[in-house]
């Protein structure tokens, strides 16, 4: 046996694996880094952060969360966010589901035009529509109203919701609907008893996606809501932004209160989200 063959050698697949791991480590640091930094700052005071922005938190100021929740109105912001997002997501699921069911199942006049009109709205950036929307909300008495914000959220997320659900509904075999018709059910009953339950993976996807997006929504909320007791969580950070002084520590604490529910949703439901998005992609 030669000396060369006895020396340890790294195989090509081992090198590829090492390169992949290195890439994953760098990418994880890149994406998780800001989150970890904010999480770290949320447990430190603004004075500690000013002294050393990147130091580890010690001691841990958990009392900042209680202070934000109780003294800085975060409990109100949180329940505003919950009520607005849940209402919007519920409406989106029902209206989007019905619309998608119709687009996928029925042939009707001007179907293409209606489809185009709904989807044409997504090509405009929100910055373009927000001024006009502001005026409309004022005219209809919906400015500074939680109901107004719910309606706006429903309208901005409806096209994508319909798009995802319609693609799924279209793949449900029409025999199922016909069997239900012969079993004696009306179109309305078929929607509730067949379409929605069968499309549960896609429904879950839209619910999770809309919840995450609307929970984090800032632009429409900041323009349409100015009263403090109607603010949502993303607007809560404004409370710590003064003209002269920024309470960076409390901003980080507020951000963590806003972010944690989204992270939890993603951690527990990401698999279902991916399933819904890719359902049917591979037979």
């Amino acid at each position: 046996m030669s000396a060369a063959s006895q020396s340890p050698r790294i195989s090509a697949s081992g090198l590829r694996m090492a390169a992949l791991l290195l890439f994953i480590v760098i990418y994880t640091a890149y994406s998780a880094g800001p989150f970890v930094w904010v999480a770290s700052m949320s447990l430190r005071t603004t004075t500690e952060i000013a002294a050393n922005p990147y130091a580890l938190p010690w001691p841990w100021h958990f009392d900042k969360f209680a202070s934000a929740w109780l003294d800085s109105n975060y409990d109100t912001y949180f329940f505003n966010s919950v009520s607005i997002v849940l209402s919007a997501v519920a409406l989106l699921t029902i209206i989007g589901g019905m619309a998608a069911h119709c687009f996928a199942r029925y042939r009707f006049r001007f179907k293409g035009v209606v489809y185009f009109l709904i989807f044409s709205t997504i090509i405009f950036p929100p910055q373009v529509t927000v001024i006009g929307l502001f005026q409309i909300m004022v005219d209809y008495g919906l400015y500074n109203s939680r109901i107004g914000l719910v309606l706006v959220y429903v309208s901005i997320q409806l096209p994508v919701t319909i798009y995802i659900l319609e693609a799924f509904f279209a793949r449900i075999p029409k025999d199922l609907f016909e069997a239900a018709r012969i079993d004696g059910y009306s179109e309305w009953a078929i929607f509730w008893k067949i379409s929605l339950p069968v499309a549960l993976p896609a429904i879950s996807t839209t619910v999770i996606l809309n919840t995450i997006l609307l929970w984090n929504e800032f632009l429409y909320a900041v323009v349409l809501i100015t009263e403090d007791d109607k603010r949502t969580l993303p607007l809560g950070v404004l409370r710590f932004l003064g003209d002269q002084l920024e309470d960076v520590g409390m901003i980080a604490t507020g951000l963590m209160i806003a972010i944690v529910p989204v992270v939890l949703i993603y951690v527990f439901f990401s698999e279902r989200l991916i399933q819904g998005m890719t359902a049917g992609a591979v037979k």
Binding site: P173, D175, A180, R181, I182, G184, Y185
Partner: protein, 363 residues
């Protein structure tokens, strides 16, 4: 149980631009098992769907037990349908699938449960009642689809190629199961298939369709033995009836390589001669041959051998021989038959010429 009557029923698409089904006249008697048979695109499924109420009827009239059904929605026709894909509700258990239609009509949950249990027991599904369709085999799913139809005790059962997704062995056993079910329920059943074996073995009568029209209706053996047209002759039977051009002479029908002795046609009359492969037999006597030619192919199927004979026509003439056949490749072979089994068709229209037109000489 019910009588289903289709009177000049038609279906067109695009404001009459495409006629999928036209002028269909069928009366399906009470308790009859009627098979709609035909190749893909012949309109058999469309006809069934019109009976079900899943397609609108653009012409004619459909009635069930004398009541006009054209405008009656599917849910009010009191029919049950078994789909090719089974159409089981994937989010429901077998029990819920079976009871889904019944719940709509019967509010009493205890009665629904009792009926579902009865039907599940009768078709061997009791142990699968709490499973969902994805946890069942193809045959079990098929039985659930069947049970869903039975449980409602409808006036008419409709089947849209329900066996086509099953493997060959399961298809044979399910075929027998369906025949047993029909005998037990004595219900009116309409069954769509493109499989002639299913049609021949299951149907009280067969309705053969072609290009949206009814080509022939009759008992399976009647249709097989006396096809109404060259289409039916060539569609039914595997291999199908041999069709070849022939000309009448003073003494019989001349095929070019042989003749059938007899009288009936005016000399010089052109006909299409039809002979079933199993009605032909080899003979050593060239003088009595109906067809003579060279053996170009031999297909041994185990129980029988198909002998392909090149006799100067577009297609070879096929003889269905026994397991052992004396024919060898490239041999010249003479084939004869009982003149009574010969069928004649008009070469222009393809329609059958009455069998009593020709009287063959008995040998």
């Amino acid at each position: 149980m019910a009588i289903v009557k289709l009177d000049k029923v038609g279906k067109s698409y695009g404001n009459g631009a495409v006629m999928a089904v036209q002028d269909v006249n069928i009366i399906i008697e009470d308790g009859e098992f009627m098979v709609l048979l035909g190749p893909s695109g012949c309109g058999k499924s469309t006809t069934l769907r019109m009976i079900a109420g899943l397609e609108s009827i653009t012409e004619g009239e459909l009635s069930i037990d004398g009541e006009r059904m054209n405008a009656v929605p599917a849910k009010n026709r009191d029919i049950a349908m078994v789909f090719q894909s089974y159409a089981l509700y994937p989010h429901m258990t077998v029990r819920d699938n079976l009871g889904f239609g019944l719940k709509r009509r019967q509010a009493d949950k205890a009665l629904v449960k009792k009926r579902v249990d009865e039907v599940a027991a009768s078709i061997g599904l009791t142990e699968y009642l709490d499973r969902k369709p994805h946890a069942l085999s193809g045959g079990q799913r098929q039985r659930v689809a069947l049970g869903r139809a039975i449980v409602r005790d409808p006036k008419v059962f409709l089947f849209d190629e329900p066996l086509s997704n099953l493997d060959a062995a399961l298809r044979v056993s399910t075929r027998a199961e369906l025949v047993r079910l029909h005998q037990e329920l004595q219900a009116t059943m309409i069954y769509v298939t493109h499989d002639q074996v299913e049609a021949m073995t299951m149907g009280d009568r067969v309705c053969i369709m072609s290009h949206g029209k009814v080509a022939q209706i009759g008992k399976p053996m009647d249709v097989y033995l006396n096809p109404a047209s060259t289409f039916v002759a060539s569609f039914l039977g595997n291999p199908p009836m041999n069709l070849m051009p022939a000309t009448a002479s003073e003494t019989g029908i001349e095929t070019g390589t042989g003749r059938i002795a007899g009288t009936g046609f005016a000399p010089g009359t052109k006909v299409t001669l039809g002979l079933r492969p199993e009605d032909l037999r080899p003979t050593d006597n060239a003088a009595e041959a109906v067809v003579s030619g060279r053996v170009v192919s031999l297909e041994s199927l185990g129980a029988e051998t198909l002998v392909h004979v090149e006799a100067g026509n577009d297609k070879p003439v096929i003889l269905r021989g026994g397991r052992e056949t004396p024919a060898r490749l490239d041999d010249t072979i003479h084939l004869t038959c009982d003149p009574d089994m010969a069928r004649f068709f008009d070469p222009e229209t393809g329609l059958a010429i009455p069998t009593n037109t020709f009287t063959g000489d008995k040998k």
